[in-house]
């Protein structure tokens, strides 16, 4: 991760203002300073910085995510704050009201945690394991494809159309996820395959 870039770059254009180095030179010992310091302790101290991109609109603002715990060291990482990345040329550290509140999207109480399954006619979701969900869905897909796959048209031309199952692709997944989804859908012959660009 190229952290060293984060301090230089266009900050010079913004007329300095680089974070002060140690302020010990002010003549306060560590303990004494803490005691008489009135301001709220700086909450990002000893957090891990990770560069990311805001998932909302297509300005794709650069953000820095501050977490307790470093994912790259295999630790559980809990994001405590998200702020704009001042080095990013498009947003230069700024964020809109949505981007500025990203932490509360990541930590939203309505983030999904477990695979859920709703039986036909039921009025509630029930927990289901990932394995059972995958097996059940794969089975449903194969049976439907085998039953409804249009291999050739009236003129005998191979058309490979599976119109009875569709896939609506996301609008904020990565290109890499999109490519995997594309291969999956097109290989199966799904023609009812679209994404957010349509609307």
């Amino acid at each position: 991760m190229n952290m060293e870039l984060s301090r230089r770059g266009f900050l010079k254009l913004a007329g300095t203002g680089v974070a002060a180095t140690s302020l010990g030179a002010m003549g306060f010992g560590e303990a004494e300073a803490a005691e008489i310091a009135h301001v709220r302790p700086f909450k990002l101290t000893t957090t891990t910085e990770t560069r990311n991109t805001c998932p909302y609109c297509s300005v794709a603002c650069g953000i820095i995510m501050y977490s307790k715990g470093d994912l790259r060291k295999g630790e559980t990482a809990d994001i405590v704050h998200i702020e704009g990345d001042a080095d990013h040329p498009t947003n230069r550290g700024t964020l809109c009201p949505k981007g500025a509140a990203l932490k509360d999207f990541v930590k939203s109480p309505t983030r999904l945690q477990y695979p859920m399954h709703r039986k036909p006619g039921s009025d509630k979701f029930e927990r289901i394991s990932w394995e059972d969900a995958f097996d059940r869905i794969a089975r449903l897909m194969k049976d439907d494809r085998d039953a409804n796959f249009v291999a050739t048209n009236a003129a005998g031309v191979p058309v490979n159309r599976w119109t009875t199952v569709g896939l609506l692709a996301a609008s904020a997944t990565t290109n890499e996820t999109a490519w995997a989804t594309f291969k999956f859908a097109k290989a199966l012959g799904m023609v009812g395959f679209d994404n957010q660009a349509r609307v």
């Binding site: 991760m1 770059g9 266009f10 990311n52 991109t53 805001c54 909302y56 609109c57 297509s58 300005v59 809990d78 498009t90 949505k98 509360d104 999207f105 990541v106 939203s108 983030r111 999904l112 945690q113 695979p115 859920m116 399954h117 709703r118 036909p120 289901i128 990932w130 995958f134 869905i137 449903l140 439907d144 291999a151 058309v159 490979n160 159309r161 119109t163 009875t164 569709g166 896939l167 609506l168 692709a169 996301a170 904020a172 997944t173 290109n175 890499e176 996820t177 999109a178 490519w179 995997a180 989804t181 999956f184 097109k186 290989a187 023609v191 009812g192 395959f193 679209d194 994404n195 660009a197």
Partner: protein, 815 residues
């Protein structure tokens, strides 16, 4: 976008029309306020509402939704009448001088060749006159009446300022001020940029709206220049990426197109994709189509795609209809012809028009799988939420799987922004509970299906069992592996055609970019336009050098832009026929006698002489099209068409409803309302505090904009005695919503064709899950009809009625 976000600081005039950049793209809009502050640029906003973009504008002009074409045609007419045309640019870089076949014409709102039964045009007459040398016949003096230029002038004639006021409701003085300011940008040293979004695309003639401004920008010479261009502000962080990667019914990757039933084999398929130049010496880059197609097929099916089996051409589906877009799929679903549906990070229950119809459609499904980080309404369409989702749960027999996925903060990978920058990001948080990466979920489903087909066989298993899935861990493909697949690599040593002993790219190595792709199966590439994203120099999408020499806003060292890291498309058009920049103070490219140099990757062969090769290298003409030949279903020139639900008749042809060639299913024709029953013009839009239906799950954004409301003028409120903050009921032919009323000066009644038209604004963002107050989406009201060319739903213009009302049942904060 043809340009990029950071390029907007170079402009002199920003026109935000058909969009609301300050609210939907605030941090990108910074570059408008920077241009205003540092260059004295001016900002014009043309919108049915006085938006927050208008609040910092220099000039705001109201307009009735769905009449943008009349406005833009009026501005083009004004520019031509007042000789405000960048002549040198128009003559050199557009098809103004091309002659058009005699049969073509326009009368009573229709072009020649209209077939009312088929709701389609026979577009054979919409084409150039081809000389015996196989090239288009032109008249550089523009005297010949069949010149595109003269046909355009004839077509624009009716759009006088009075006609614009009559159709759009924009006061004439305001229109003339806007047209005046725009026309100033015809000077080579003044550029204008257009920033638009769904305000233009979500109409039954959305594509023509954009054509209108594109032609205006060509007349003013603003395409391919710094601070110019046609800038579509994409809505989502990777909607550009998913479109580039072809995740659409009619597309393959890199804008290669899906075969149709008529293209029975690879040869027939390629026959209509030769793209021979129509003018001597032009690049017509699509001539390389086959290289990209074959490389794509090799990427999909590896060794199973060979020359002898048409590169596994038959593994691809062949379409029997233009496309199975979402409207068609939901129509089929509504008819019970769709059994299963997978929603990956999408909330169609609130996003697609005519919610009542879509709820019934979803209820017909045998099974539904949703993949989302959030608890979406779509995954709970079967749950009764009082007024907010009045369904009979027991009767809905759909089996639903709600699968939790990670969000942006928990995965690595790249997103493509509006400016075509592919930007890599890194995971920084641990996913909650058992949420999984999408790649893992897709891989698990694929591997199970492949195993089932290997074991049990079944319908045409070949494309499944032969799909290339070579990852270190097939259960969990890594982003880096997938990115490298997209970039493409040599499958065997690529030797220099001139000197076979010289190996350009060794087998197994990543190709540098798409210029190295071959059509003989020796290269594979997932998406040719992205090639160069992850080559032997490493992950170029992760580059972070934010230097910007001479402060042009190019940032060539920052991540990777497609194609070939080019930041401004058609940038050769920023220089005249001698290769000198139109505006020396804003140089982009310059011809130094032997090659093009400048601040961007040239959008032309580096050594293509300025007076020979046109800047629009993807077009067979090498020039931009003022006349779009037969490429657009609804006309080579943009012509005014009313929305399907319009408060007034079409002045050119009162009997014509909406776009004459837009597809409308029978069930939907019956559900189109008229202005006597629904007198008010409704429109839908976003608010800056929310992002679609995600941020109602965020307590902070919900606090900033807690509850669903509709906006009406003070005049309409008085007329219907609606109090500010009171409850109202808004209903259309298809459904109704209840909302708080926001009575405001920012919406004013317009006078169109002598009739007073009241506008009712219906923002989205609310549903029945998340922490904000429960609410409705405008899609409960919008019509189930799309754009003639691309089927984008007409959510921006529909007819409604409104009256004071009471609060909906169980309005409290949702789950």
């Amino acid at each position: 976008m043809t340009n990029s976000w950071t390029d907007i600081k170079n402009t002199d005039l920003v026109v935000v029309m058909g969009g609301n950049a300050a609210e939907a793209h605030p941090c990108g809009f910074k570059w408008v306020t920077e241009a205003k502050a540092n260059r004295g640029a001016r900002l014009i906003v043309v919108d049915p509402r006085y938006t927050r973009t208008a609040s910092v504008s220099d000039l705001y002009a109201p307009i009735r939704q769905g009449t943008d074409i009349a406005f833009l045609n009026g501005v083009m007419r004004y520019c031509i009448d007042n000789d405000k045309v960048q002549w040198e640019y128009v003559k050199a870089f557009t098809n103004a001088s091309y002659l058009v076949k005699d049969g073509f014409g326009y009368k009573d709102g229709l072009f020649t060749g209209y077939d009312a039964e088929k709701r389609d045009y026979d577009r054979s007459t919409w084409d150039y006159v081809i000389g015996d040398d196989g090239f288009v016949v032109t008249d550089p003096t523009l005297q010949n009446p069949r010149c595109v230029w003269n046909l355009l002038k004839e077509h624009l004639a009716p759009y006088t300022p009075d006609m614009v006021e009559r159709i759009c409701g924009t006061p004439k003085d305001k229109f003339l001020k806007v047209a005046g300011m725009i026309s100033e940008c015809s000077s080579p040293t003044k550029t204008m940029t257009s920033m638009y979004a769904l305000g233009w695309t979500q109409h039954s003639k959305g594509s023509q709206n954009i054509r209108g401004m594109a032609m205006l920008q060509l007349i003013l010479g603003n395409i391919g220049v710094r601070g110019g261009g046609m800038n579509a502000l994409r809505g989502h962080s990777n909607i550009q990426g998913l479109t580039d990667l072809g995740l659409m019914s009619h597309l393959l990757t890199g804008y290669l197109t899906m075969p149709t039933e008529k293209e029975v084999d690879f040869a027939t398929y390629m026959s209509t994709r030769q793209f021979k130049p129509l003018r001597p010496g032009q690049t017509s880059y699509w001539q390389n189509y086959k290289k990209f197609m074959v490389s794509f097929q090799k990427a999909m099916w590896g060794d199973a795609a060979r020359a002898d089996n048409d590169w596994a051409f038959n593994y691809l589906s062949k379409l029997d209809v233009p496309s199975y877009d979402v409207l068609r799929v939901f129509e089929l679903m509504y008819d019970g012809k769709v059994n299963g549906y997978i929603c990956q990070g999408f909330n169609p229950l609130l996003a697609f028009p005519n919610r009542a119809k879509n709820t019934k459609a979803l209820s017909n499904l045998k099974w539904l799988v949703t993949l989302d980080p959030l608890d979406t309404e779509t995954s709970r369409f079967w749950e009764n939420h009082g007024d907010f989702n009045p369904v009979d749960t027991a009767s809905i027999q759909t089996e639903v799987f709600q699968l939790p996925t990670t969000c942006f903060a928990e995965d690595d990978g790249s997103l493509t922004n509006s400016g075509r920058w592919l930007q890599w990001h890194w995971a920084g948080g641990t996913p909650p509970g058992e949420a999984k990466h999408d790649t893992y979920t897709i891989a698990q489903l694929f591997l199970r299906l492949r195993d089932l087909y290997r074991k049990e066989g079944g319908a045409f298993p070949d494309p499944i069992v032969n799909l290339s899935w070579e990852y270190a861990d097939p259960n969990n493909p890594t982003p880096e592996e997938l990115a490298k697949e997209i970039n493409g690599r040599a499958l065997s040593d690529l030797t220099d055609p001139a000197d076979p002993t010289k190996v350009l790219v060794a087998a197994g190595k990543q190709v540098t970019n798409f210029s190295q792709l071959r059509d003989d199966g020796s290269t594979m590439c997932g998406c040719w336009i992205y090639s160069g994203n992850f080559n032997e120099q490493g992950n170029n999408m992760a580059r972070r050098d934010n230097h910007d020499p001479d402060d042009t806003g190019a940032y060539l060292g920052w991540t990777f832009a497609w194609p070939l890291n080019r930041r401004t498309l058609y940038n050769r058009a920023s220089a005249d026929l001698q290769g000198k920049p139109w505006d020396p103070s804003r140089k982009l490219l310059e011809w130094d006698g032997s090659k093009w140099t400048g601040y961007d990757v040239p959008d032309i062969a580096p050594t293509a002489k300025p007076d020979e090769v046109g800047p629009f290298i993807m077009n067979q003409e090498g020039t931009a099209r003022l006349f779009a030949r037969g490429l657009m279903r609804d006309g080579p020139f943009p012509a005014h068409m009313e929305p399907f639900e319009s408060p007034v008749a079409n002045v050119f042809n009162p009997k014509m409803r909406g776009n004459p060639v837009a597809r409308v299913f029978e069930t939907d024709v019956a559900q189109l309302g008229t202005s006597d029953e629904f007198p008010y013009a409704g429109t839908s839009y976003r608010l800056t505090e929310h992002f679609h239906f995600w941020t109602k799950h965020n307590r902070v954004n919900s606090a900033l904009q807690p509850e669903f409301f509709v906006e009406i003028s003070e005049e309409l409120a008085k007329e219907k005695n609606i109090d500010n903050g009171g409850w109202v009921r808004v209903w259309s032919k298809r459904g109704e919503v209840k909302a708080k009323a926001m009575v405001t000066k920012r919406i004013r009644p317009l006078t169109c064709d002598g009739k007073t038209v009241h506008i009712v604004g219906v923002p989205l963002h609310w549903g029945f899950t998340g922490s904000a107050k429960k609410g409705f989406g405008p899609n409960s009201l919008a019509a189930f009809v799309g754009d003639a060319n691309i089927e984008t739903p007409e959510s921006k213009a529909f007819l409604v009625n409104i009256e004071p009302s009471t609060a909906p049942k169980d309005r409290g904060a949702s789950a």
